[in-house]
Amino acid sequence: MHQTLLSVENLNISFNHVSDKPLKIVDDISFTISQEDVVGLVGESGCGKTLTALSIMKLLPSNAICSGKVLFKGENLLALEDRKLRNIRGQEISMIFQEPMTSLNPVFTVGYQIAEALMTHKNMNKKTALEETIRLLRDVKIPSPELRAKEYPHQMSGGMRQRIMIAMAIACSPSLLIADEPTTALDVTIQAQILELLGSLKEKNKMSILLITHDLGIVAEWVQRVKVMYAGRIVEEADVREVFINPRHPYTIGLFESLPGKKGEALTPIPGQVPKMDELPAGCKFSPRCRYAIKECHEKEPALISVNPPASPLIKGGAGGFKHLSRCIRAMEI
């Protein structure tokens, strides 16, 4: 197994709220990412997956109250001073966002925006940085890169803009790439192009990727380890094969049953809706929507427990020794 690159320990994120008590959005999240690992963070809107990602880069809004540890190569990023952090952002860890148009600066050429990272982090002069930029654009398969480098974001299509974002993110060969819904704004054929590109770049640059998505299709093809989030908590985590073949949390099961299949096969949606963070139910946060809920579920919040030993006969060979965890007291029965 590869060395641990990033380890998030007991991360909590809260915001000051109208009421006197701060509102907790991300509740006690811990996970690790090893070298060349692809970890998927899955969940519906508002479950805290983007905030978790932003906290790794220490990009949370200033009114956020954050506790816990984010250890990157052994150093706690949350305690690091801004000057040192700047060396890590963009160089060691970089991020691509869902909507490339809002992440690119409309008044600078894309070439300049990529070169800027190289000049800042690699101390390149303008000329070498621009040459390197053109090489990067070629890497992300932009046709006629010399001309495209002189264009502005609005002159490009959505797929192209996302390629520019990727070129910018990999400019300094980071060891960790955080991709927050990188293809959600794109069409399926362009999505396929971008995912293939990310895959080949990952191999080439030996990057680890934290992929945030709500698309279980992308997870199935792409990710090695999955973390399913609900209401700011991790409710299930395991090797991707385990999660798909043998899901052990009612929410994960519900997500799979919500996916449309063949004509005539009935869908079983999860009833109700995601609770608001200031109106979370007592006990298990999923219990009001859960068809397996019993009395205890509504009273005490379950801990993440290991469901490994009896539940893994379907895994052949290299599950990699990852634990299968579920936040459900009936995980073994369902």
Binding site: S157, V188, T189, A220, E257, S258, L259, G261, K263
Partner: protein, 314 residues
């Protein structure tokens, strides 16, 4: 099965900078039967939403004919037009944008009932409550404003509003894409149930092929303003004819482990609809192109029974 909607050779061109023509919808023909679910797929900018607006006459076409229940939609005036408007309703992608933030549910859903004299003011409340119940909402929603609801609930309100005038055909333009996965299934089930109970026909516009496969009877695939393939859903998913359909199906990420099918990666982006390539519009990105493709436009013809395709291979 009775034919409900017939679209024949419909075109919509826009004049753009430099006296060029943007061919958003170009010579599209199809028909929808009573209680049929017609799926329309394609990538952004292929003209599917423009086509929807033309059918509802929210836009005037450049050419072609549209008949609804044997009434000429394009030339309808006065009473005939408002009759069509009652039978043809639309549900949009973003329910928050489709609802007036300053109007309560009872006003939003009830307005069409009053205008079309389906209900009198004193029975309005009961009618709206009935409609809300049909879409799975409680009566206490009546006096609330759109911001007080979640995305899924807002889409239910839009569906209730569309249902209020007893339509025969509902055009649903990406009704699920603004919603979370668990909520998408709820709305899909609701649409299905309404179709069965009220004998509704749908034109379902979406880019999500899983939804189409699950839901629709017939599928049409659009590319650059034209239908490139149309066929029964099952046949199309089993064996797509057009190389574009094939690529589209292969590009769908499958939420199943161990099902790594061969993926056809298309080159480049969709060309601008102002400069449509000569010959087959798809040829610059096609993995199966051969000699005639870059010069001769393939005819749109019935390659097999009920399977229409425009490709030189068929």
């Amino acid at each position: 099965m009775k034919e409900l909607l017939k679209v024949h050779g419909v075109k919509k061109y826009f004049k753009v900078k430099g006296n060029n023509l943007l061919k958003a919808v170009d010579d599209v023909s199809f028909s929808v039967n009573e209680a049929q679910i017609f799926g329309l797929v394609g990538e952004s900018g292929c003209g599917k939403s423009t086509l929807a607006r033309l059918i509802l006459r929210l836009m005037e076409p450049t050419g072609g004919e549209i008949f609804f229940d044997n009434i000429d939609v394009i030339n309808a005036r006065g009473k005939a037009l408002s009759g069509i408007r009652k039978s043809l309703q639309i549900v949009f992608q973003d329910p928050l944008a489709a609802l007036n933030p300053r109007r309560r549910v009872i006003d939003a859903v009830g307005e069409a009932l009053l205008i079309n004299k389906i209900a009198r003011r004193k029975e309005l409340k009961d009618r709206v409550v009935y409609l809300l119940q049909r879409v799975g909402l409680d009566a206490d929603a009546l006096y609330k404003y759109p911001h007080e609801f979640s995305g899924g609930q807002r889409q239910r309100i839009c569906i209730a509003r569309a249902l209020s005038v007893n339509p025969k055909l509902i055009v649903a333009d990406e009704p699920l894409s603004a919603l979370d996965v668990s909520i998408q299934a709820q709305i899909l089930n609701l649409l299905e149930e309404l179709q069965r109970s009220s004998n509704l026909a749908y034109i379902l516009i979406t880019h999500n092929l899983h939804v189409i496969e699950h839901f629709s009877d017939v599928v049409a695939v659009m590319y650059l303003g034209k239908i490139v393939e149309m066929s029964g859903t099952e046949e199309l998913f089993q064996k797509p004819f057009h190389p574009y359909t094939e690529a589209l199906l292969s590009a769908m990420p499958e939420p199943e482990i161990d099902k790594k099918s061969r993926r056809i990666i298309l080159e480049g982006d969709v060309p601008s609809p102002v400069y449509i390539p000569a010959g087959c519009p798809f040829h610059p990105r096609c993995h199966k192109r051969f000699e005639p493709c870059d010069t001769i436009v393939p005819a749109y013809r019935e390659a097999e029974k009920d399977r229409w395709v425009s490709c030189h291979l068929f």
